[in-house]
């Protein structure tokens, strides 16, 4: 199943909201000092739409879970296909541009 859609309510089964709430956020919460989360972009997914990336990554900042700088420091993004550099840049851009705690999170599940 490819990552797609912004919210659970988009019926994609692999939305940005789901990725953030069920995978990225728990991993961040369990992160020990000095550890990083390795995000491998090209180990199966065909691509990542902006809706997925903004909600999945920038949502961490937007809903006030973590500030942008420490989030960027906690992530190590990897890929072997050079086309996926496009998505790495987007992830970093969206995180950097997100306003900390600018929105209250309400699950769409």
């Amino acid at each position: 199943m490819d990552p797609s859609g912004r919210f659970y309510s988009d019926d994609s089964g692999a939305s940005g909201e789901q990725f953030r709430e069920e995978h990225l956020l728990p991993a961040l919460q369990n992160l020990q000092p000095g550890e990083k989360i390795i995000v491998i972009l090209d180990d199966g997914p065909e691509s990542y739409g902006s809706s997925f990336l903004t909600e999945g990554f920038a949502g961490i900042v937007k809903y006030g879970y973590m500030e942008a700088r420490p989030l960027l420091d906690a992530l190590e993004i990897e890929y072997t296909d050079p086309d996926y550099e496009f998505f790495e840049k987007k992830i970093k851009k969206y995180i950097s541009e997100a306003k900390f705690a600018s929105k209250d999170y309400k699950s769409t599940k």
């Binding site: 988009d10 739409g49 902006s50 809706s51 086309d83 996926y84 541009e97």
Partner: protein, 383 residues
């Protein structure tokens, strides 16, 4: 004040005349009513009669009110836009789920016999409309292909058009002649409901088979397709306007011309269209702001709304419920460094093209709408 080119002025005059005559009817809000209505049936009859008399549609009506539409010789959304869109509009109007009123006009046959050329995008939209009609008829439609042009048959056969129907002997006989060197090769269309973004892999595999190589920058195109599919879930079929889960279809196909090396991808949904979905979106205020320099009369023009929606996302750093989705559509063309993206929705066109390193945006307004959103990417493979 704004200075219009002669072509723009002629288009505005054509539009205004059509509007005054009541040839253009638009409904932006309110629910989709399926209540039988003699007034709606009469309006449909008038609509068809006017277009038949003007020669825009070749239609005949039998004694039971069943209409035969004979398609024109050429259908495409580039230089034959209006004459193509009006056929699609007629099919949509004449093939509702339920007849508007007992004995009101209803689609009986779409005759392809005179059709000699059709673009990939027009073929996909036509297939989508006939698929919708077939859904309404509980899959009882049968194709009559005896007098079809062999090239047209070949094109629709590759597209998967005949998968909609029970196979007839005539179809199987003509299928033996499908193929040939130098033709545009089409990918069997994909019809899905919301979500199902992984189905784009089927398109990738089919196109890769045709061109015999990987599609450079495919992940970037796929992210645009993913956003188009997300748009179908979020905006295209609002329940507040009477749409249910059953309506939320999207269609996807592609084609490759080995002579010109042109590669085309086409995505289509039959929803309310991007211009109509903007007023209820988070970016509406920005759209209004963006269009504040435009004369008030023109602010609801679909081509300007489309342009505003794309341009706002290009320049905005804030999040919106649309994400950066429309922007994602452009990225494949940017990354490839040549080609174009066309978004046709309702009466508007937004075309973004890149050539020799520079980009160009074109907007256009049409008399007849695309009832939904049609997105076309076209690039040329460079050896």
């Amino acid at each position: 004040m704004k200075i219009y080119s002669r072509k723009q002025r002629e288009r505005i005059v054509r539009w205004n005349i059509a509007h005054r005559k009541g040839l253009i009817h638009r409904k932006r809000t309110g629910s989709r009513s399926s209540t039988p209505s003699p007034a709606a049936a009469s309006a449909l009859h008038n609509w068809l009669t006017e277009r038949t008399e003007s020669g825009e549609i070749n239609a005949t009506i039998n004694s039971k009110g069943f209409v035969t539409i004979t398609l024109p010789r050429v259908m495409n959304f580039s230089d034959q836009y209006e004459s193509t869109a009006v056929q699609i509009n007629a099919i949509r109007k004449l093939a509702p789920r339920n007849r508007l009123f007992p004995n009101s006009l209803s689609l009986g046959l779409v005759n392809f016999d005179q059709l000699e050329a059709i673009s990939t995008s027009a073929a996909l939209v036509l297939t989508a409309e006939l698929s919708k009609w077939d859904d309404h008829k509980r899959h009882r439609l049968l194709p009559r292909v005896d007098n079809w042009n062999p090239d047209i048959f070949s094109r629709f056969y590759q597209l998967g058009f005949f998968e909609l129907f029970r196979k007839t002997a005539a179809v199987e006989k003509m299928a033996l002649g499908v193929g040939g060197v130098g033709e545009v090769r089409l990918v069997q269309y994909i019809k899905e409901k919301t979500g199902a973004a992984s189905k784009t892999r089927l398109l990738k595999e089919a196109i890769t088979d045709i061109i015999g190589d990987n599609i450079s920058k495919w992940p970037i195109l796929n992210s645009g397709l993913s956003e188009a599919i997300t748009n179908v879930s979020q905006h295209a079929y609002p329940e507040s306007q009477g749409f249910s889960q059953d309506h939320k279809h999207w269609y996807l196909s592609g084609g490759y011309n080995p002579i010109t090396k042109e590669l085309k991808f086409v995505f289509y949904d039959q929803g309310i269209g991007i211009p109509n979905s903007l007023p209820s979106s988070e970016i509406w205020e920005k759209v209004v702001d963006f269009l504040s320099f435009v004369p008030a009369m023109e602010r609801k023009h679909d081509e300007l709304l489309l342009k505003a929606a794309v341009e706002i996302e290009r320049t905005s750093t804030e999040e919106s419920d649309r994400g950066k989705g429309l922007q994602d559509l452009l990225e494949f063309i940017n990354e490839r460094g040549q080609g174009y993206l066309s978004i046709l929705s309702q009466h508007g066109l937004y075309k973004y093209s890149v050539k020799n390193g520079s980009s160009r945006v074109k907007s256009e307004r049409f008399i007849y709408p695309i009832e939904g959103t049609l997105i076309i990417w076209k690039v040329t493979l460079i050896e």
